[in-house]
């Protein structure tokens, strides 16, 4: 690549790197105990001791943002992993073989996509109960059809290409064609789908925990922090802002990264 610099890629990588290092360092140590209640010091403004201030229970907001972002990231990553793996399998099989199996899975996918995904996730959650792992399962299932569709499209495109024909004529088995010959060629599209899916997953996780269905208190979660901070929007605006900006940065970093990678591939 020459000339224009890929600012999307640089900025996205920078934001993501900062967020990831904060989250990773949070696994080892946070500035304060994120769950330690200090009633005498509730809703204090940002200061040298509490960089982002404290919440209504006197807990350090920075520590809670770090832990909450980590938990959001974990849920989003696991959700996308479920969606992408199952989607790749289903999309690959249906796109490559076609026929009635293709129809069956794609129409089933249509049914899932026909409902607003949050609504369907809510139904699932009410069946299996709230909690972090259940959120992952519910959201993961929601994400399968869109991945399956993207992957299917790529397989439909690739299966009639001459190099797939040549592979077939020298006697390559279907599985080997699907995963050794076609999959690497579908990778750029799948990676972009993952970047987009990841952002949607971050948002979906935040909405679920905003509704109180995700991570259960007292553990921190960005969505829950947003909903708790609502009541103090005017007395302690830094509370809502910290949680909100953390979500924005998480999404912005990944979507810039995704676009940057896309632009680089097309260059």
């Amino acid at each position: 690549m020459q000339g224009k610099r890929n600012y999307n890629l640089i900025l996205g990588a920078a934001i993501t790197a900062v967020m990831l290092s904060l989250i990773l360092s949070g696994l080892i140590r946070t500035p304060h105990d994120p769950n330690k209640i200090n009633a005498g010091n509730s809703l204090s403004a940002p200061s040298a001791q509490y960089l982002l201030g404290t919440d209504n229970f006197g807990r350090d907001i920075l520590s809670r943002v770090i832990i909450g972002a980590g938990s959001t990231l974990y849920v989003a990553a696991a959700t996308v992993a479920i969606g992408a793996l199952a989607g790749m399998l289903i999309g690959g099989l249906t796109g490559y073989f076609g026929g009635w199996v293709d129809e069956l899975f794609m129409r089933a996918g249509d049914i899932i996509l026909a409902f607003p995904s949050i609504l369907l996730a809510l139904v699932l959650i009410s069946l299996i109960g709230p909690g972090r792992n259940n959120i992952i399962i519910a959201l993961g299932i929601m994400f399968i059809p869109s991945f399956a569709r993207v992957v299917r499209g790529e397989y439909v495109r690739c299966r009639e290409l001459d190099y797939v024909h040549s592979a077939r004529i020298i006697g390559t088995g279907n599985m080997r064609i699907m995963f050794v010959h076609i999959l690497p060629n579908a990778a750029p599209v799948i990676l972009r789908a993952i970047a987009i899916g990841f952002n949607n997953a971050v948002l979906a996780e935040a909405s679920m925990s905003y509704l109180g269905l995700g991570v259960q208190p007292p553990d921190a979660s960005l969505g829950r922090m947003l909903s708790e901070s609502q009541s103090y929007l005017f007395s302690a605006p830094w509370y809502a802002l910290s949680a909100g900006i953390a979500i924005v940065l998480l999404i912005l970093g990944f979507s810039l990264l995704g676009e940057g990678i896309g632009a680089r591939d097309n260059a």
Partner: protein, 262 residues
């Protein structure tokens, strides 16, 4: 070696239609047979059917394709695959798309060995370098590790021929392999095919709509029109003394110097 009897291929999906409509064809071992016909005459479908590449779910095939005495259409898909992989090779028109863009040239050439023989990586590499030498790819050692986009069109077609040739097939189906190449490279590829045929005894079924290319390469020629083989015979006989009305028109359509100057 190859005998096609009353082959019919029709699509069973919404569009329907018969692509091959009762074609019969004979090909002897080690022969260079040209198959000519206009676009849509069914020559590619015929080739794909012999190669076993048409989707069975969407097509109906009747008739017989005898390859060394056994009917390919009656075989189970699994048997067919191993047979085709070893004894029948195929090269395609578009050297841009017929190689996997993300696989190294050498690995693609070796692929058939990996599937059909128990050779170790070292031996496979040696064999691949051998055939690369045979098809005159420059600097085999270096080219082995290259990706398709690093090769020219002619080199890619040579790489395709190498990958079809590594199992020493008895029949090589070439579906318009020179159409996408410029004339000088065309000539080189034709020379290469001729040499492979003479030195290795591989039979070549050469499909093209380009009569001059067919005339240069093939000893016998079959003319296909509307899904049927309308005429077949020795190349010179067919060109100098065409029997069928369609063949006459086809040959009359070849541009010559006199016609061009008009």
């Amino acid at each position: 070696m190859l005998e096609i009897k009353d082959l019919k291929v029709s699509f069973t999906d919404d569009w329907g239609g018969e692509a091959v409509d009762g074609a019969s064809l004979r090909m002897n071992a080690g022969e260079r047979l040209g198959l000519v016909g206009e676009s849509g005459s069914g020559k590619t479908m015929l080739a794909l059917t012999v190669a076993g590449l048409i989707p069975r779910s969407r097509t109906e095939v009747t008739g017989e394709i005898l390859f060394e005495g056994a009917d390919l259409l009656k075989r189970k898909p699994k048997e067919l695959r191993s047979l085709q992989g070893k004894d029948i090779g195929m090269i395609f028109q578009e050297p841009m798309t017929s190689l996997n863009p993300l696989m190294r040239i050498g690995k693609q050439i070796e692929e058939a060995l990996k599937l059909h023989t128990g050779l170790c990586a070292q031996r496979r590499r040696e064999k691949a370098l051998e055939v690369m030498e045979l098809v005159e790819l420059p600097e085999p050692e270096l080219t082995y590790a290259k990706y398709p986009h690093q090769l020219s069109g002619g080199q890619r077609q040579r790489a395709m021929i190498a990958s079809a040739f590594i199992t020493d097939p008895k029949l090589l189906i070439a579906d318009e392999p020179t159409t996408a190449l410029d004339v000088t490279v065309q000539g080189q590829i034709i020379k290469l095919l001729k040499r492979l045929n003479e030195n290795r005894g591989v039979g070549i079924l050469f499909i093209s709509h380009d009569l001059s290319v067919i005339r240069k390469l093939c000893t016998r020629v079959a003319v296909m029109h509307a899904g049927k083989i309308v005429e077949q015979g020795n190349t010179e006989d067919v060109f100098t003394n065409p029997q069928h009305e369609y063949t006459k028109r086809l040959i009359a359509a070849i541009p010559t110097r006199e016609k061009r100057s008009r």
